[in-house]
Assembly symmetry: C2
């Protein structure tokens, strides 16, 4: 590696009488790698074709700095302006997909190809018109995005003049050779050309007398010099060493030898260095070399080329930068988390709309076994907005089954689940926006008679309504049936997607509630679009049921929810289930949500059934079922579909109408009443009576026979 103060090692081995050049040192800032990561993940993916990039170099560095070619964040946009006072350098990026292909890349062939391009640009004269042809570079990379390690190898191709360039005099600084007058004229003339060209001219021609100094672009050569004029080739020199020119000179000399052969047999080179010293512009440390260029035959073939950068050990080999430790850990975590997800898009599910998933705001009602597992799976999908509602405290039996809690959370009577769960998500991934609310959900059959209770219940209902309003998906993950009633009603009314999971001992149901259509203004019968079917048994045979006609958790029930905890024994009180069940159901609940979200019609998507397993899936992720019912003892899942029930105690038009008209007044009646209130309202009472009548009839029938 070339340092700024010592002559580069390859110079020492060369002949003293020959001009030697200080190679470029690549300077890649973290922003470059960050942007490469983004490009790789979002744009290039598995595409290995070369990409145009842009670097720059500067001829104003203070002594001590190496001859740098810098690539920044902006390198990937070649139209981005070059930083002030810098010369642009265009390059090609070869980003490989594997370390193997990085290693096995044929470096000689790449260099030959690159050299040939420059040679052609020289021969054709294109490099005279646009001298940036002479500073083209190549960059071979492999990005280990899991570990934030970047392997790279730069190539700055330089064509070689076979016999080298003879140095006729030791180098002299401009201060030694130019008067102040000459220096001033040089500066003025250079700046004029700069102004005309827009960027500092990387290569230029110089002509000077004792009292003047003029500068011209390369293409001006024939007119600029008269016969006998001494030719002085100028270039912006990024090198800061006082004895050697920088690398960009090399291809200029080949160009000069090829095009201006006899005129430059003897010539001068101005290594133009242009720094600011104590607030004053200073170019007097620029160097002037007096050289002799070899002859180049007219039929010259592609000259030999060099240019692969040495690595940190001074050997020909790639460099590696490990950015995992210098990047902000929180940002690192964020991009790492995204990585796994974006990888899915590259090959497996190119149409996956991850942004839709990541920005879905999820409300988790229940932070127990199911709630914790659902939150974990949402985190895995990159969901950034997760809110918990629970009113319980963490007890000693929880942590082994509820993967957001530790033993320490149980001490001193236990901390509130919702708050601990939210705090835990941020410990897992600081980029998440997690909140927890210690809130009781009022339930039918759990009366709120006293005014104190009523006030509290009303407050809880309002809070729940607000929370449901602020989220996109509501997960029902409680351990009683009746606690699911209120959020089912509110979410149906607000047309929010509901994902419901419930566990038995070794069975589970994971389902999406039917998503109601937006209400037509003022029409009392508007809900009636939902469903009219009372054909409960036959409904699972139906196919092609659109999302808005699907049932909710209560649609299959013919009794209203009531207090199911009042007289349960211990094994009924705790939802006793096989330990693996909640992990499976929680994961499936989230996968179902993602599948629904990926469907172009979202919650209105037609429900897939078990029969659809043989058909073309509706989304790139597969089926979008209404319900997944799992049987762990058989390691089996079935996908039933059922219709919304027009006498449902939670989502039927009658219930939603009353709720929307009377609000808490209606809800309080449901909380305080026995089953019969909701059953009377929805017509279930009548249905029961009819059913009983039918049963009696059947019996009499039997007796007649």
């Amino acid at each position: 590696m070339a340092s700024g103060t010592d002559p580069p090692s390859d110079l020492l081995a060369a002949d003293d009488a020959k001009l030697q050049f200080v190679p470029f040192t690549s300077a890649l800032d973290a922003g470059f790698w960050h942007q490469l990561t983004q490009k790789k993940l979002n744009e290039y993916r598995l595409d290995e074709t070369p990409k145009e990039i842009k670097g720059h170099y500067y001829n104003g560095d203070p002594a001590g700095l190496p001859t740098r070619l810098t690539l920044e964040f902006s390198a990937f946009d070649v139209n981005t302006p070059t930083p002030a006072r810098c010369c642009p350098a265009l390059g090609s990026l070869y980003n490989t997909n594997t370390l193997e292909s990085f290693k096995s890349c044929d470096k000689k062939a790449l260099l030959d190809r690159a050299a040939n391009e420059i040679w052609e640009a020289i021969q054709s004269g294109a490099a005279i018109e646009d001298p940036t042809h002479l500073t083209k570079f190549h960059l071979l990379t492999f990005s280990d995005l899991k570990k934030y390690r970047f392997y790279y190898w730069f190539c700055f191709p330089a064509l070689c003049l076979q016999e080298g360039v003879r140095l006729l005099q030791p180098p002299a600084s401009l201060a030694q050779r130019f008067s102040e007058l000459q220096v001033g004229a040089l500066q003025r003339s250079y700046d004029e050309l700069w102004q005309k060209e827009g960027t500092p001219p990387p290569y230029f021609l110089v002509k000077y007398t004792e009292t003047s100094c003029a500068v011209a672009p390369l293409r001006a050569f024939p007119d600029f010099y008269k016969d006998g004029d001494k030719v002085t080739l100028g270039f912006c020199d990024p090198c800061t060493l006082p004895q050697y020119p920088g690398w960009p000179l090399r291809n200029l000399l080949v160009l000069a030898a090829y095009h201006w052969g006899s005129r430059v047999r003897e010539a001068e080179v101005l290594c133009f260095r242009d720094r600011t010293l104590q607030g004053e512009r200073d170019v007097t440390h620029s160097l002037i070399f007096h050289i002799q260029l070899p002859e180049m035959p007219a039929n010259q073939e592609l000259p030999k080329a060099v240019g692969w950068e040495k690595n940190q050990k001074g050997q020909m080999g790639p460099r590696m930068v490990n950015l995992s430790e210098c990047m902000d850990p929180k940002r690192l975590a964020e991009s790492s988390v995204d990585l796994n997800l974006k990888l899915m898009r590259w090959r497996l599910v190119p149409t996956l709309d991850l942004d839709k998933v990541i920005h879905t705001k999820c409300l988790l009602l229940g932070a127990g076994t199911l709630g914790c597992n659902v939150a974990r799976a949402l985190m895995g999908w990159g969901v950034r907005h997760i809110t918990f509602v629970d009113n319980a405290k963490i007890s000693y039996s929880n942590p082994v089954r509820q993967p957001l809690y530790d033993f320490s959370d149980c001490l001193g009577g236990g901390n509130p689940k919702a708050e601990v769960a939210a705090a835990k998500l941020e410990k897992i991934f600081p980029g998440v926006n997690a909140r927890g609310f210690n809130l009781s959900i009022p339930m039918p059959g759990h009366p709120v008679h006293f005014s104190q209770e009523t006030v509290q219940a009303q407050r809880d209902v309002e809070k729940l309504e607000a929370l449901i309003g602020q989220h996109d998906v509501v997960f029902l993950l409680m351990d009683t049936r009746e606690s699911r009633w209120l959020p089912t009603v509110i979410a149906a009314s607000q047309q929010k997607l509901v994902i419901n999971a419930a566990l038995g001992f070794d069975t589970f149901v994971v389902m999406r509630h039917g998503l109601k259509m937006p209400r037509k203004a003022g029409a009392a019968e508007s809900w009636a679009d939902g469903a009219n079917s009372s054909d409960l048994l036959g409904s699972s045979l139906f196919s092609n049921i659109p999302g808005h006609r699907l049932g909710c958790y209560f649609c299959n029930d013919v009794v209203a929810p009531g207090d199911s905890t009042r007289d349960r024994t211990l094994d009924q009180q705790c939802t006793v289930s096989r330990p693996g069940l909640a992990m499976i159901a929680g994961a499936l609940a989230v996968e179902l949500m993602v599948s629904v979200i990926q469907h172009p019609e979202g919650g209105y998507a037609v429900a897939s059934s078990s029969d659809d397993r043989m058909n073309e899936p509706p989304t790139s992720l597969g089926l979008v079922p209404h319900q997944i019912r799992g049987f762990l003892s058989r390691f089996d899942n079935v996908l039933p579909v059922s219709l919304a029930f027009d006498k449902c105690t939670a989502c039927s038009p009658k219930v939603l109408d009353q709720y929307e008209r009377d609000g808490f007044q209606f809800l309080a009646k449901a909380f305080n009443s026995s089953h019969s209130f909701l059953e009377d309202l929805t017509g279930l009472t009548l249905l029961h009576q009819e059913t009983q009548a039918a049963e009696i009839w059947d019996m009499s029938d039997d007796e007649i026979v």
Copy 2:
């Protein structure tokens, strides 16, 4: 609640001239509740019938202590010896299943029944023969084992003499009434009876003169007293108040009135208190009451009874003790964790052998996405012994998918997974015995040529062999195919159950490896029992395949494992999978393990297939499949079964023979060689050649036609 120093409140309301009694105060130590919890979980379960228990009381308490009836850990074994110097009290425990049934229990009926039993024991004379009939108590409980709250209500039934007992003189202490001579004689006589009876006689008769004092059991009444002798009824008095007798006296007085009516119209009562004061026995604080007992008609019906204990507020009502805060949190966590599991046995799976599960020692190879989820599910099942092996460090993308790690574990380059995972398990549940080993598993196709590498590999192999030997079940949860080879070989050789889980993008396989039969000594062909079938395609159609003939992960492969990471792109390197998949597969891996363990034949159990879903399951937990292959896009699982393959590169007789004979030397060859070594060894090479030959044949055949 009666305190030791103030007269109990109910005394104050009574008539001064009447004898009043200090009720028992129940004293239940934590050991009693702990043992009740165990009994409830393991023995009583839902059984609500009364259980015999045993308490005791002591007449040697220092002043200030209440009149305690103590129940300890030992209360549930009525044959357990009564603590030294204490009187036994037998009782009935009514442990209800619900708080509702606790509350709604008919206390009056219970008391009446209890009183009647005592009354009958009095009438029949059984209480004279065995006076412990007089101190029978009843205990009504409800245990909220989730919260460690115990609700209870004691009943110490006391029959009431209708008009009460008249006090003829103020009470006097024995010190006031007895000479030293008399006291000494009382003690000697009492001790003789004690020695004869084995326990301190709770009730006895006393007869004294100025120079003597004799003691006799109740049954001796007719012979002990001569006509005209003053009757002195003695009892061990747990009361420490200087004016009142304790509760046990009440039923004795009824007995005396009933049986010895006229003889005890006027009588004395000796409240025998027997303490040690400054190292000296002292009974002189015993009390003597001079009383008049009412007449009892011969046809006396069941007298009125009292006895329900007041609660801490001094009201008639149950007491509640919350032990969640005073119990050792770690022990609390332990019993809480067991609770959920034991609940399964009560109603759902009475035959479940939890001990087998809990004591299974599990070795988890891989502490990544699968490893973390498997460990979580094992914790849920109460498994106490979990060991992790992994050689990776925790990276920023891990915590959202690997539920044992937090963001903080990623900082500074990341902590080693295995160690952090083990430490985390102890944070979740201090009762677990978790260890983590930062260990690389040598793999075929990953050569160990240099001596340094070879020494390390040999050390790693030995460590892995030792770990597999120390565990019952080996989980293969790595992310490459070839890393599963070595543990498959070692576990097959050691006849350890292997559970293997592997993820695709939205598919997974969870399987148990065939469990080899114990090797017959010295027989080279012993492994041949495994399988001879090369019928790979047809094997899944087979049914009734016993565990020892089932295939391993490599049995279905016809190439040996090699370096699969060498040339993979990023999306192939990371096992990119739908985030829910690992939770599902991890949970199923553990549920499969538990199902296998519950089968009486364990790993030798016949494999269940998808077709068996309709049949009677082989265990109370259901099917015991060989493989579960899951398809998340269809929410479907299938249960294929396949035979061990006699040319398997991991578990075939040839491989195991060589491994057992040549040990590391053989393994090193496999690590260092290309595929062909294992393929040559097992005969796969020959199979490939035959297959190719067969293909050529088929083609020629086609051409002829």
